[in-house]
């Protein structure tokens, strides 16, 4: 894969069942090449996504988090993504104070027919995360390294 010259990173994707999951499926059926860093979790609606999922994922070793749902006005449950938009926007703006780059998290809208757009979203988001590099790890084998780095920065 051209976007994937280095090592793979771990990106978690939360996709709504009705649009984006279908969109990812369409991309697969259409055999569009995609980077393979993304692991998908299917949820009923983008409104189901507690923004704390994002932080929890980052703290447990993810390097990036992508949320995707139906386009506004297209939600299967009429208004789930409107609420999600407010919540996720706040979380994205909140992340920097914790010491995570805001770019480690993005939310977007992809409909079931937009296989091409899905490919583009995955490719550019993966690229964005690779530019940032791995997120600091506070658990697991790299935790000690992180703590040393942090001690040096302070």
């Amino acid at each position: 894969m051209p976007v994937l010259k280095g090592k793979e990173l771990r990106i978690v994707g939360f996709l709504c069942n009705w649009c984006s999951y279908g969109g990812a499926d369409t991309a697969g059926v259409g055999r569009f090449n995609q980077p393979t860093d993304l692991r998908i979790i299917r949820v009923p609606c983008s409104g189901r996504i507690d923004p704390l999922f994002v932080v929890k994922a980052l703290m447990n070793g993810a390097d990036g988090v992508l949320v995707s749902g139906c386009h506004p006005r297209d939600c299967h449950y009429a208004e789930g993504n409107f609420y999600a938009r407010r919540r996720l926007e706040i979380m994205q703006r909140f992340l920097p104070v914790l010491g995570y780059e805001a770019e480690r998290f993005e939310y977007t809208w992809v409909s079931a027919s937009e296989g091409q757009r899905w490919q583009q979203v995955v490719a550019s988001f993966t690229d964005q995360i690779h530019k940032l590099g791995p997120a600091p790890k506070i658990i697991g084998p790299q935790a000690a390294d992180t703590l040393n780095q942090m001690a040096a920065a302070l």
Binding site: L52, R85, I90, M150
Partner: protein, 319 residues
């Protein structure tokens, strides 16, 4: 305080119709106050209002729901009351609010730092500009404005926003001693690893006592708190910094659009972790996106409980 007698008179007038009135009284030493529950006429005389009246008594209100409760509030406390009313966590007809013009409360952490390990406090005299503290070996004279809590240095609501009885003259809109969020902005200018490391370092000493949660007037989930839930298992019982940071993020996020920045979380922290900063960050973003401030209008709809089809201040990423 000048209006203290006037306040006692209004409490005396209202007490026959109330089960309890919440106020403050002296504590184990002259430097501290403690919440005071006035149930009988003779309790009224113990009431003391001073810059030591730091506690936000609104924290008790949801637990006393169903009783007729009177509450003495500072300006910041009244915002918590408004927020509780807004969320239907208390009934307006059950509470009687006593307001007074607040000139700020002290930050005990700052006093502790200024005194060092001073031993027992003998006397504490507070005038308009100074606090004179007599400890066992010497007298310390501290400037009151420097000992004020940070929230008081940026205060915009010294008078109770809602009240049934208001004693003394309203202050109106004061000129804050500091600009809002100056410390937050300084923190945000640090590098990414510095910010990340800061929280690891600060929260490492957290003992998970959850005093921040207990003191918070808007933490109302009681036995259903996400911190203790096993399903979903947000936090483990392990002693690691990850779960400590995660709890603070959960607290800040559950306060999004509700927090009135009364600072009780930070004041209650036994190891002085600056947890209020996370809530301030959340609040500032909400102010920027939705032009919304919590706890000023009992009729307002919180921003996360509503939406617009087209959001003015949210621009989505173009891929």
């Amino acid at each position: 305080m000048k209006f203290q007698e006037e306040l006692k008179d209004s409490i005396r007038k209202a007490l026959p119709d109330l089960d309890v009135v919440l106020g403050w009284c002296g504590s184990f030493d002259p430097l501290h106050a403690t919440p005071h529950f006035i149930r009988r006429e003779e309790d009224i005389d113990k009431l003391e209002i001073s810059p030591l009246s730091v506690h936000n008594l609104a924290t008790y209100l949801p637990g006393l729901r169903g009783k007729k409760v009177g509450i003495v509030v500072k300006g910041c406390d009244s915002r918590s009351v408004v927020e509780l009313l807004q969320e239907n966590l208390i009934n307006r007809e059950d509470i009687t609010i006593f307001g007074f013009p607040c000139t700020g409360v002290v930050d005990q952490a700052k006093i502790k730092k200024a005194l060092g390990h001073a031993g027992n406090v003998r006397t504490c005299d507070i005038s308009d500009s100074a606090i004179v503290i007599q400890t066992e070996d010497k007298a310390h004279s501290l400037t009151l404005t420097q000992m004020l809590a940070d929230k008081c240095r940026t205060c915009r609501y010294p008078d109770a926003i809602i009240s049934d009885y208001f004693v003394g003259d309203k202050i109106g809109e004061p000129a804050p001693l500091e600009t809002d969020y100056a410390a937050l902005e300084a923190f945000e200018s640090l590098s990414v690893p510095e910010r990340f490391g800061y929280w690891l370092k600060e929260l490492d000493r957290c003992i998970r006592c959850y005093a921040c949660r207990s003191a918070c007037p808007l933490c109302v989930c009681r036995d259903h708190c996400a911190a203790e839930s096993r399903d979903p298992h947000w936090l483990s019982q392990e002693n690691n910094v990850r779960d400590k940071v995660m709890f603070q993020v959960i607290h800040a996020y559950h306060m999004a659009g509700r927090c009135t920045e009364c600072g009780e979380c930070q004041r209650a922290c036994p190891v002085d972790i600056p947890v209020l900063m996370l809530k301030q960050k959340m609040n500032r973003e909400i102010r920027d996106i939705f032009q919304y401030e919590a706890g000023v209008d009992p009729e307002a709809t919180p921003p996360l409980l509503s939406f617009n089809m087209e959001e003015e201040n949210i621009t989505e990423k173009e891929w």
